[in-house]
């Protein structure tokens, strides 16, 4: 990718995130909502998402430790996390959440463990990438909000 300036870099990053399936169009909608009234809306939502999702994931982890095989509980927690993913457009993470829930449905503890690890991984990766993206946006300045080449 040849991105010369910050804006371009931000745009490129975003596009790559979309191409690789990390984000989906819901993210576009979020960025859409950013306007003069909420100039940092995207950033706020993203940080809120990561804060909340970290909490949810801790809950799930604890539940998996303290309540072994309590699939209903695990599923309930994951449902919440999945809902969050939906709202922000975290596509890959959402998919891993779904597979976790499927494992819960099958009462497959092993499968749940594995899925959860994947969820964590996706969460970590997404966080990194979005943080970079937000950084670029910030650096690029308000004008950046106008361009959203990556939106599907």
């Amino acid at each position: 990718m040849e991105c010369y300036n910050l804006q371009r870099q931000a745009a490129c990053l975003k596009r790559s995130l979309f191409d690789q399936g990390y984000l989906d169009e819901q993210f576009c909608q979020i960025e859409d909502l950013q306007d003069e009234a909420s100039p940092n809306f995207t950033e706020e939502v993203v940080s809120l998402f990561f804060k909340d999702s970290a909490r949810l994931m801790t809950n799930i982890e604890q539940a998996m430790e303290k309540n072994p095989r309590d699939f209903n509980r695990w599923d309930a927690h994951m449902q919440q996390l999945k809902g969050s993913c939906y709202s922000i457009g975290a596509s890959r993470m959402k998919n891993e959440c779904t597979s976790f829930r499927n494992n819960c449905g099958d009462e497959n503890a092993e499968g749940c463990m594995r899925s959860f690890q994947k969820v964590k991984r996706e969460h970590g990766v997404l966080r990194q990438k979005l943080e970079s993206y937000i950084q670029l946006l910030r650096q690029a300045g308000p004008a950046e909000t106008a361009t959203r080449p990556g939106c599907a």
Binding site: Q29, D32, S38, V45, D52, Q79, Q80, G83, S84, S87
Partner: protein, 637 residues
């Protein structure tokens, strides 16, 4: 609805100042525990130019709505929330405030969507929500208002009512609603129901501006009391209105509320199985519980299949329970319960299921009975409401009349319990019949009972729907069953065990009668000794029963009952159990009635589910939500 009306409405609602710009400025309350979603939703709504209030807690939302009822036009709520189920919130809002509610969820499965519809949601959106979807949600507000206007205009008692009923049917049927799944402003079907509801709700004929009638807890309580008095079958808006004797509400308001209430009850009964907190409610520790218990019971009855209370060996427990049950609070609650339960189980289904089992008594009776017993709480049922509770038992009533069973008081709840009793085995009863002496106090019961018992009634009772329903039935004959239980012991495996004890205990509470049994019953355990136990129980002072009635007890007994229901060929669960139905007993019975298994679960569940509803509706003080009523061990069969 004309534009003027809309404007008026807007103005009346505290105005956004943009009278002509509706839907701009429409006031939305958004509820979602997920902060990310909430934030996004808020901004989407702001982008649509609505006025938005957000909260992450359902309880806060309810509080806001109650305090500022006229300041919101629409509620959007997530389905999965930690402090309260979204559907519950939906129901409450619908019942109390009659605002359009849109459900929101990441879960788009048909059943969940259907559930939303049947609970009265006017739309169901899937996450992630697109702004296009939100742009059209104002139609729900308009539609509701215009149906109000329309219904109001055309209204006359019958037609209005029919319309409501029709809508209710439609809602329940969900046929129309299915189309909702597309969720895109296709609320025609759903709204039809809403319309009629709404129209009645604001039956202020004098002005175009229809002030919303808010069904406060007090008002709702009166409503429920009136409905109970009339009997769910016979409750018509006009009569309810007369009974309520409240100003400023019209028949239409009542009609619409009645419709919702019926739906609500139906739903509750359907949800009963999910309410495992019945036990908690059962404890009767506080009114809330009792109420819940009853409700749970109801639900249980309907929904539970097998809850088998494990015999609890401690009498004391039962005694305590009974005592508790007899306690004023218990009774008080009971009183409340009946109405509540009635309310909850208001739907025909509920009543019939729980109460009806008995003998087909109609819910109406039960409800009435329910009220009655409460008053008596302390008496064994000498007066026996007679009709209601006993009736349940088996059509028969033979039991009932003879016994005067204290069940009377138990009625409401008893019925449920009772129901159980008889189910188990008619035979035991019969055998019991001979015994009579067992229960000195029962005396009355005994003598009468045996006769009654011997009759098929008992049998019937037992038969009544697989236990689940028995609750109601048992009320009257309770006493008898006890004795029969003892006899039956062998016959009634269940009875012997817990039930006896429980029954006794239950009965005791209700009846001063010497249901010492209760003490005994618990010990029973073995069916063979049922008779002994019964005797023992009888020996026990009634007080024991009172206390022992603990929910659990009933549970235990419930088990027997259950078996009675199912297993007993003819034994017919001795109605004794029912007799006892003290408030607690009743509730406990409810718990264990039929579903025995479900009971404790119910209680638990109930406390969770119904509890919320009930509590919300009535806001009783809840000491401990989670306290399990049933002390006994319940095992799920």
């Amino acid at each position: 609805m004309t534009v003027e009306e809309v404007k008026l409405e807007v103005k009346a609602n505290g105005g956004h100042g943009a009278k002509d710009q509706f839907p701009v400025g429409m006031r939305v309350l958004a509820v979602d525990d997920d902060p990310t979603c909430l934030k996004v939703l808020e901004n989407l709504l702001l982008r649509c130019q609505y006025h938005v209030t957000t909260t992450g807690q359902a309880a806060t939302a309810l509080k806001l709505l109650r305090e500022k009822k006229d300041q919101f036009d629409l509620v959007i709520s997530d389905v999965h929330m930690p402090d309260m189920d979204g559907f519950k919130l939906l129901e409450l809002v619908g019942l109390e405030m009659d605002l359009p509610v849109i459900m929101l969820s990441a879960n788009g499965e048909t059943q969940t969507v259907m559930k939303g519809i049947t609970h009265g949601a006017c739309d169901y959106l899937l996450k992630p929500v697109r702004i296009e979807q939100l742009r059209t949600i104002w139609q729900h507000v308009v539609r509701r208002k215009s149906s109000d206007a329309k219904n109001h205009g055309n209204d006359n008692d019958d037609s209005g009512k029919k319309l409501q009923l029709a809508s209710a049917e439609g809602d329940n049927g969900g046929v129309n609603r299915n189309k909702r799944t597309s969720r895109k402003g296709r609320d025609d079907n759903g709204d039809d129901g809403d319309d009629s509801d709404d129209s009645n709700e604001n039956g202020d004929s004098s002005t175009q501006k229809k002030p919303r009638v808010v069904w406060s807890v007090e008002l709702h309580r009166k409503f429920v009391a009136a409905v109970n008095q009339l009997g769910i079958d016979k409750a018509v808006p006009k009569k309810i209105l007369d009974l309520m004797n409240v100003e400023n509400i019209t028949r239409e308001n009542v009609a619409s509320h009645l419709q919702k209430y019926r739906l609500y009850l139906k739903r509750l009964s359907a949800d009963a199985s999910r309410q495992a907190n019945l036990t908690a409610a059962f404890g009767g520790r506080n009114p809330a519980y009792v109420n819940m218990g009853l409700e749970a019971f109801r639900q249980y009855n309907n929904a539970y299949g097998r809850y088998r209370p494990v015999p609890t060996p401690n009498h004391s427990q039962s005694n305590n329970l009974l005592a508790r049950m007899n306690s004023p609070s218990a009774f008080g609650m009971h009183g409340l319960l009946p109405s509540q339960s009635l309310q909850i189980g208001h739907t025909q289904n509920n009543l019939s299921t729980s109460l009806g089992n008995v003998g087909g008594m109609n819910n109406g009776n039960l409800i009435r009975g329910a009220h009655m017993p409460l008053q008596d709480s302390s008496n064994c049922f000498p007066t026996g409401p007679s009709g209601n509770s006993f009736a349940n038992i088996s059509n028969g009533t033979t039991l009932v009349p003879t016994n005067n069973l204290p069940l009377h008081s138990l009625e409401p709840s008893n019925q449920q319990h009772l129901g159980r009793m008889h189910s188990s085995s008619t035979d035991p009863f019969n055998s019991f019949v001979g015994e009579s002496p067992q229960f000195p106090d029962l005396g009355r019961c005994n003598t009468t009972w045996p006769t009654a018992v011997s009759s098929s009634n008992v049998h019937e009772l037992g038969q009544k729907d697989s236990m689940s329903q028995p609750n109601l039935r048992v009320n009257g004959p309770k006493l008898e069953p006890l004795s029969s239980f003892t006899e039956a012991s062998s016959q009634i495996p269940l009875l012997g065990n817990e039930t006896h004890g429980q029954v006794a205990s239950l009965a005791n509470t209700a009846l001063p009668m010497p249901f010492n049994q209760e003490a005994v019953p618990f010990t029973y355990g073995s069916s063979a000794n049922s008779r002994e136990m019964l005797n023992n129980n009888l020996a026990l002072s009634n007080s024991g029963i009172n206390s022992s009635l603990p929910n659990l007890r009933i549970d235990n007994s419930v088990v027997p009952r259950q078996t009675l229901d199912g297993g007993n060929s003819g034994g017919g669960v001795p109605p004794l159990q029912d007799c006892r139905i003290d408030q607690q007993a009743v509730s406990s019975q409810l718990n264990y009635n039929n579903d025995l298994m479900g009971t404790s679960r119910l209680q638990r569940g109930l406390s969770g589910g119904l509890d919320d509803i009930v509590v919300d509706m009535f806001r009783p003080d809840r000491a401990d939500d989670g306290v399990p009523f049933i002390d006994g061990d319940w095992e799920l069969v």
